[in-house]
Amino acid sequence: MRFLFKTDYGQDIRLLKHGGQRFWYALLGIALIAAPWALSEYQLAQASLICIYGIVGLGLMLLTGYTGLVSIGHAAFLGVGAYAEAILAARGWPLPLSFAAAVLLSAAVGVVVGLPALRVRGIYLAIATLAFGFIVEEIITRWEALTGGNSGLPVAAASLFGRALDTTAEFYFLSLACAALAALVVINLLRSPTGRAFIAIRDSEISAQSMGIHLARYKTVSFALSAALTGLAGALYAHKLRFLSPDQFTVIQSIELLMMVFIGGIGSIHGAFLGAIFIIALPQAISGVRPLLPQALASAAGLQPTVFGLILIGFILFEPMGLYGWWFKTRTYFSLFPFYRRGTFKRRKAFQKSERLR
């Protein structure tokens, strides 16, 4: 058991609060940097994808988990970032500039999508984001001159300062750097007044307003930042996949992103990355299990969505805090050993409260 005696405000404000945390995160950092030498080509490519989806998860977490604005059209931002990067890279823009442009463009689209948020809440806002998701997808499909429409758009390999990052390891480091930057940015936000303003807006808009929080401004900032992060992930995504088409950014993808974030654990940074790991590992796990299943079941195309849906429902029923919840409880068990009891995290029986009156 660890007792933290705090003697300085800095200890509360710091990122890594005590020696134990510093040790484990340092270890994680070393493991991540050493990965190209330990993992196979294929595994390294998957690790890059995990970084990319983790960044998307962070963006969605910021908007939905921390500010309470549900977004069912998030794949649209991914698409905007991806296509922007693909088109600019093809025109010869250097990587840092094209990435910046993709991020800014996504942020701008985010501000537009966030406009309904200034007037409506809850399900109405969710449907507005759904509507935007469809509209952006349609625009991408129809603007064939720019995006290639349904025939798709090939993307060159990422190249930094004239040197092509076409090996898996090089791209992995790029994704890792972006993921680390994204995580740091979100954590910084959450320990500062803006992040707290987001939480305030999620929990009680009326009292947030009485505390001086300008609702419209902060909701717009939340949308913009969330879209910017997702746009960054989109830019990386374009270079990873090397080929873009509109059907990679449909509402189904948006819904899967939401599911990913929920399974990872909504409301925590770790959750974003755990969700990303889950969504990448799921197809592998299913292919691994297929040989064990009867022929009819194994070859069915619908196996993956069924398992995905089942796992999501399972988590909501039994572990609403998601994968991070499992991790947290396991860690608490060991740190409180032998004093951990089953009631430590027991949820109080709650009655449904009307959210319309929030």
Binding site: N188, S192, R202, A208, Q209, M211
Partner: protein, 256 residues
């Protein structure tokens, strides 16, 4: 004679056909504790909501230290030095007590989003300052034990205190307390009385309060305003108002 910090003139608002507040006017002096009393439905909380700019009055004027509040947007009221608590606690349930209090300091934020994204040294310094300020409030209200607890799990009495703390964290000039002692037991109400007196005497904050508990009102208030059905029916010291015939009639009804 202290200057009027808050000047309310002929304030009226109507919801549907009901005159919630009708021609209410009063002057709140700097450094005093003024209590609004009245039966339920008298319009007391509505007056608060008008001052906080949650509702828009149909007519009348509200001036804070000379500034016309009716031209001020709801989220700018806090910046002018007004903080309030809510009748049915409106805390941020999924945040810790500490975070709630820190959000209370929001108007004293001196950094912008870009600085915060990078967590520049300026942000770190500001965070320390905010923490110190919040710690003073925690000290005053004895909330140390609950500092890192999530509000959602706290008992009602503690939440009321956190609500008060959150309003104090903003270091306001004017504090609007909406039924601070409702739901509290005798000891907690005693504590609340001492705190309100400390707030007036030590912190120099002007307090406008809505309250039903008459003993608390008599102990703490400098002046009392009685309302009934949206109108002001009496003004004066606690003793004067409690003896006023219109007030007695409002609460107890006419003599048969």
């Amino acid at each position: 004679m202290s200057a009027a910090l808050l000047q309310v003139d002929r304030l009226s608002v109507q919801f549907g056909g009901v005159k919630a507040v009708s021609n209410v006017g009063f002057a709140l002096r700097q450094g005093e504790v003024l209590t609004l009393i009245g039966p339920n439905g008298a319009g007391k909380t509505t007056v608060f909501n008008l001052i906080s700019r949650i509702y828009q009055p149909a007519s009348g004027a509200i001036a804070l230290d000379g500034v016309d509040l009716l031209r001020v947007a709801p989220h700018r009221v806090a910046a002018l030095g007004v903080a309030r608590t809510f009748q049915n606690i409106e805390l941020f349930e999924n945040a810790t007590v500490l975070q709630n209090l820190l959000i209370g300091c929001h108007t004293h934020r001196a950094t912008n989003v870009w600085q915060e994204l990078l967590f520049l040294p300026a942000v770190r310094r500001e965070e320390r300052k905010l923490r110190e300020r919040v710690e003073q409030v925690i000290d005053l209200l004895d909330l140390q034990h609950h500092r890192d607890s999530l509000v959602a799990g706290l008992p009602y009495g503690v939440r009321k205190v956190v609500e008060l703390g959150r309003a104090l964290a903003a270091q306001p000039r004017l504090l609007l307390l909406d039924e601070p002692s409702s739901g509290l037991n005798v000891e907690e109400t005693d504590d609340m009385a001492f705190w309100i007196q400390d707030i007036r005497d030590d912190l120099g904050v002007t307090v406008l309060m809505v309250e039903h508990d008459m003993s608390l009102v008599s102990r703490v208030s400098d002046r009392v305003l009685a309302m009934n059905q949206g109108e002001l029916i009496a003004q004066g010291t606690p003793a004067e108002v409690q003896a006023h015939p219109a007030v007695v009639e409002a609460y107890l009804g006419k003599a048969a």
